[in-house]
């Protein structure tokens, strides 16, 4: 019994970690290459969810909707980059933060204008809306397994793209010295737009994957963006490997904290005190972890070697 809960929570933690990785990958790309802090990354996550919701309702197929919504979110990212973000690269981080905060206000309001204040639930196809028995006696929702699968596929695809293609070579070169890349005749402006759009697509994918479980709602991006920041701070800002490992660590610790902390607390304090303390501590757990890690390694666990 205890073991089955453990396995299920392990999978849940893994699923949260995968989502966080999809989000932090985009932030890592934009930060690593353009040295740009994008608070509006969560807004792209939300846009992805809303695009997918509408398309699912129109087309009737969730998978088709995802396939169309990913390029749509990338396009939204591309437009944002061309309109606003591009003009901010040479500014300092304070300007990045403020302008993208302004973008959040704009995008949230536009979503409110278009889709209304209510969240939109995404209906899952019958085939995904089931449970599978992964081990004897342990059942897990099929869709959550799909999230893990799709997330890992995206991570693998990203790994191949960055490490084994010409575009990836430019991305890596840009991350270590973008001026030099420009001097060698690479169209930096297009590269930046492309990378930003790629980050947007990854964030959008995360939004599409989570929306059938929660729903597409305004403000979903603002909640998750801070957790994403915690991930990339712990991982070491700009490091893809760090983002991946830290995302899994955070996903697991957050999930385990929320499900088991009260039991752990009950070992050494009264039941009532544990009931009060556990939710507060589990809500703060990942931040406490961040604080502890930063106290020893201000640059994060796996800081990028270049720069």
């Amino acid at each position: 019994m205890e073991a089955s809960i453990l396995v299920i929570q392990l999978l849940n933690g893994l699923q949260l970690g995968i989502l966080l990785f999809l989000l932090s990958a985009g932030l890592t790309l934009t930060f690593g290459i353009m040295d740009f802090v994008n608070l509006a990354h969560g807004a792209l996550y939300m846009l992805g969810a809303f695009f997918c919701a509408t398309l699912t309702i129109y087309t009737g197929s969730f998978l088709l909707a995802v396939a169309v919504a990913i390029p749509l979110t990338a396009l939204a990212g591309y437009i944002l980059e061309r309109l606003v973000v591009q003009h901010l690269y040479h500014r300092d981080h304070l300007d990045h933060v403020l302008a993208t905060f302004g973008l959040i206000l704009c995008i949230d309001t536009l979503v409110h204008l278009i889709w209304g204040p209510e969240g939109i639930a995404i209906p899952l196809p019958e085939i995904l809306n089931t449970q599978v028995e992964i081990f004897p006696g342990i059942v897990f929702p099929t869709f959550r397994l799909l999230i893990i699968g799709m997330g890992l596929t995206a991570a693998a695809g990203l790994y191949l793209l960055v490490n084994h293609t010409r575009v990836g070579m430019l991305i890596r070169a840009g991350a270590s010295n973008r001026r030099m890349v420009g001097a060698l005749g690479v169209d930096i402006s297009t590269l930046f737009s492309g990378v930003f759009a790629l980050g947007a697509a990854l964030a959008g994918l995360a939004g599409m994957l989570i929306a059938p479980i929660t729903e597409a709602s305004i403000g979903m991006g603002s909640d998750i963006i801070i957790t994403t920041f915690v991930v990339i701070i712990i991982g070491g800002i700009g490091s893809m490997k760090g983002a991946f490992l830290a995302a899994l660590i955070i996903g697991l610790i957050d999930t385990f904290g929320r499900s088991f902390l009260d039991d752990i607390f009950k070992i050494f304090m009264s039941g009532e005190a544990a009931e009060t303390a556990a939710p507060a501590v589990s809500a703060m757990l990942i931040y406490i972890l961040m604080a502890v890690i930063l106290a020893f390694r201000p640059q994060g666990l796996f800081p990028p070697l270049t720069r």
Binding site: V84, T109, I226, Y287, M290, L294, A295
Partner: protein, 338 residues
Amino acid sequence: MPEATIGKQHTAVKWISIVMITALAVIPFGLYLAGNAFWLDIFTRLVILAIAACGLNLILGLGGLVSFGHAAYIGLGAYAVGIPVYHSTYGGMDAIASYNGFVHLGLAMAVCALFALVTGIISLRTRGVNFIMITMAFGQMMFYAIVSLETYGGDDGLTIDLRSEFPLITLDNPVTLYIVCYLSLLALVFLLHRISHSRFGLILQGAKFNEERMGAIGVNCYRYQLTAFVLSGLICGYAGFLLGNFTTFISPEMMDWTRSGEIMFMVILGGAAALWGPVIGAVIFIVLEFVLSEITIYWHLYFGLLLIFSVLFMRGGVSGALSRWFNSSRSSGTQRQA
């Protein structure tokens, strides 16, 4: 870069000071006496947020450290009023249960100082983006901590049944409350003026431009920045204490990271480099928020556009633009602006 130091103020600042001091005294009372009591509320909120913005500006404008978690201090200050009042009404936690304003204020200052000290020690070891994100994460940590405290309403917030009790002063009277807030703001602006001219303030500004050089001349910047960080948290905590007494309803929503963004927006909109910048920013923010939200429920869109516009095209905020205009109209061509 002359406009980046608070210490070297233009003569414009004298006039801006006089205008602001008079306007914040005359306008709300004029409207109040004319029968628009509602505007006194708007101005009270405005002055309280101006205090918070000035507090943030101590570290942001003077120290050049972009802290994105200052709403947490406002929330802590407000809950330092709410929680003792809750316990003296419903019992429990005898150690802090009180209606006494000095207890509330003391608690607010103690909690904010402690939180600022602990998070400051860690976050000031980093710079730039890391610092922004870490302060943001710590702020959000307090948000989630308060949300998870079901006793005090959690997500739904907490109604403060009675305002802080002080001898001779009754905060229940809106006029008295406004006067307290107004005088607090004046005292704070004066304090910041003195700080920016002090050794402490000069070291902060020096560290903002070049920490290594400051180190080379024998200054340990970290200590000064940590002190400024704590002081800045205390000021925001005080603003929270006032806000709790003003609204008498507090919720975790007031310490969400987007609130921190709004305070930062005020500072930048008004101009982080100027003494009165944050106050001007708060005035514009609150008045605009009120006017726009009367016209449309989609007013956040205009706010977002204004924010993007002011970042892209208006360096130094409104006060930067004002002093540029002031200088050019006095035909002093010697001071070229960046």
